[in-house]
Subunit: 462 residues, 2 copies
Amino acid sequence: MTHLVAIGGSDAGISAALRARELDPTVEVTVVVADAYPNYSICGIPYFFSGDVKPWQSLAHRTHADLEATGMRLRLDTLATSIDVAGQRLTVRDSTGAESQIAYDELVVGTGALPAYAGIAGLEQLTPNDGVHVIHSMGDTFALEKHLTERDPKTAIIIGAGYVGLEMAEGFTGRGIHVTQLQRGPEVLSTLDPELASIVHTELVEHGVTVHTNTTVRAVEKTTTGLVVHAEHDGQPVTHTADLVLAVVGVRPNTSLLERAGATLGAGRAVVVDEQMRTGLPHVFAAGDGVTTHHRLLGLTYLPLGTTAHKQGRVAGENALGGAARFAGSVGTQVVKVFDVVAARTGLREHEAAAAGYHPTTTQTAADDHKRYYPGAQPISIRITGDTESGLLLGAQLVGRLGTETAKRVDTYATALFAGLTVEQISDLDLSYTPPLGSPWDAVQVASQAWSRTQTPTGVLA
Amino acid sequence: MTHLVAIGGSDAGISAALRARELDPTVEVTVVVADAYPNYSICGIPYFFSGDVKPWQSLAHRTHADLEATGMRLRLDTLATSIDVAGQRLTVRDSTGAESQIAYDELVVGTGALPAYAGIAGLEQLTPNDGVHVIHSMGDTFALEKHLTERDPKTAIIIGAGYVGLEMAEGFTGRGIHVTQLQRGPEVLSTLDPELASIVHTELVEHGVTVHTNTTVRAVEKTTTGLVVHAEHDGQPVTHTADLVLAVVGVRPNTSLLERAGATLGAGRAVVVDEQMRTGLPHVFAAGDGVTTHHRLLGLTYLPLGTTAHKQGRVAGENALGGAARFAGSVGTQVVKVFDVVAARTGLREHEAAAAGYHPTTTQTAADDHKRYYPGAQPISIRITGDTESGLLLGAQLVGRLGTETAKRVDTYATALFAGLTVEQISDLDLSYTPPLGSPWDAVQVASQAWSRTQTPTGVLA
């Protein structure tokens, strides 16, 4: 009987374990989880702080009982410390400090990522007790919640204005905490072109968030009057003070276990895996935020996302049982809700596409989510990036109000990218239409036609 | 200088004219419109009756001035009575009865469809003055509105429970008119499987609509006490009485003009066109609800939809100027909002796929529109039809509450159908996820995985 061991209780590890049990109920599956919170939705943590999610236990995708009902065994509060690849044995340490070994036939490593500190002095030294937080685990979550409830901070500085930073700005604001958001780049949400991200910026400001862009944080310092963040703004030193500091400046792959076992690091210093999620070490698969990402337009890159971790874990779980599944590749689809605005992207932005050797050009269009004569129509701002040589769709970015089905409109582009369609073919798609929810040419197509017009000058048939 | 003449002021004719002017601003374009209402949104008429759209003029996709600003000439209240194909001349009759001729270089015929009467006695003889209505034109719309405002009917019978019938049931109900809806088939919305259409049925009943299924209407009769509808229910004669009768039992292609000019009729007795929208008559193109529909899964069929008419008109307009555009084909994507429920479909249902030679099977799943821990999550019911031999996706049907992005989720399936993806590949799609708006495996993928599980028994890798 095969014994599959998965390391990591988050998306990749659990997905691998679930897939293995689904495909072969006779396989023995053990999941080694560093904390006591397997299968928690990390993406949901900001909504716990906003008060939308109560109690915190409901953040679990599946309960402990649900997971055990699938037949997998969970080893909680257990840290994997080393892999004996030749001996097919894993050394683990439990919460008492006791070490033991687990023999495996196949191993799936899903150790994920760790918060990055971006070279900011003091960040690694200061702790939640000092009022300085990261949020990546349920432990971080409890520490921050304790701070909020016991010390009632009135002001917070959020370092970073990416997905989690923006969601936390909303969460804190909803709890009456004034947020100052510091962003290194020229605009918030640097994964979108500033022409669209500026809409998100406006939304933040309208909800009372103070946003400082072009602000590079150098150090965080604890003083008697509060936490002081030292930064540079346009080359000038500035300081900001608050009761609480939350640093959300990205993640780095957590690779030490696999590195020590002999795995190779690649893009983003993540562990290199092939499309079958094999590490190259015999019987050792890896998946999730700790590994390189196969991207359908870029080849190998590092793009950690929960959706990708689920897919990669599923592939690893199947292949660990002798399957030949392949991760079909990411196209980088992402979406975030910030107050009442939804911002989404898929594929490449113009500079990314150019760097990858394409010949991109980008157009921007505003198109109503549904027929204007029906109440409540709202424009969705859409940027289309296409290849001027092949006509291929390379990417799309969308920002619309909540309720405009922007999140699922990006999926049409994502599917088109997956299938390798041209921008012109977007107009050929048979998309749904009813006046309260769309238009005969959907907003998705109005935007693609605007791009096409830049490629087909009028009079071309004359 | 080319003179392009388009017949028909609705989607196909106007789209052809717009495309021609877009591609070549030197081309002379005349659009012959039978009434005074060019480019009106027929799909929007129910929302005029519900009171959502005011005034009726806002139902125009573009105003008369907008259209003329593109450089096209409109001949309103002008009926095209015959085509001299060899002489490239069109005979038209204006509202005074005077006939004249229009010479053309290229002709695009977009005469659309007419209401069907489904063999119901009295329907063609009784008029709006009698309280019996159809709604297909702005003239029909004004007649019905006049009835509603001047005679204040308390009760209405709607014959038919398709898209327009359901939308009108909502519209009448919103105005305080009690609706009795009579449907020939075993369930409302016969374009969906009854397992999902029943959700729409429940929504109608919960909003006070009386629904009678398995009810075949034989005749409509005007009596001194009101309008009497004679029907059969399970083989037994039944009668229903109301102040107003609205018949929405489908449409038939309006082909007489092209038939007399020598065009060939095909599927659904619509005019046969090729993928370039050529009728086979020299210099005569046709598009819209009057012509056969190229369907990517079925080949030639008849499936009149506004979205298709827009695309076909655009192709005809381009080709009339010497282009070689092709209508890429419909996949039959449709959506309707009925009160607070959204019902959508794309592709084929099981019996349609079987009739077309596929080997289909269908599964049904309910999957939340977003993570359950975030407030407001609602299940979307999804039926997936796939081919058991090739694994290809053949169709999807979805019913969800308003606000669940069901209308744009069907577009992901529609795009997958367009690209010829397998059901299994739906799981490979990189779809957007944020807890308030989706799940790591989107509902679209949860449903496709349920289908895949029926094809890959557990233990297959053991």
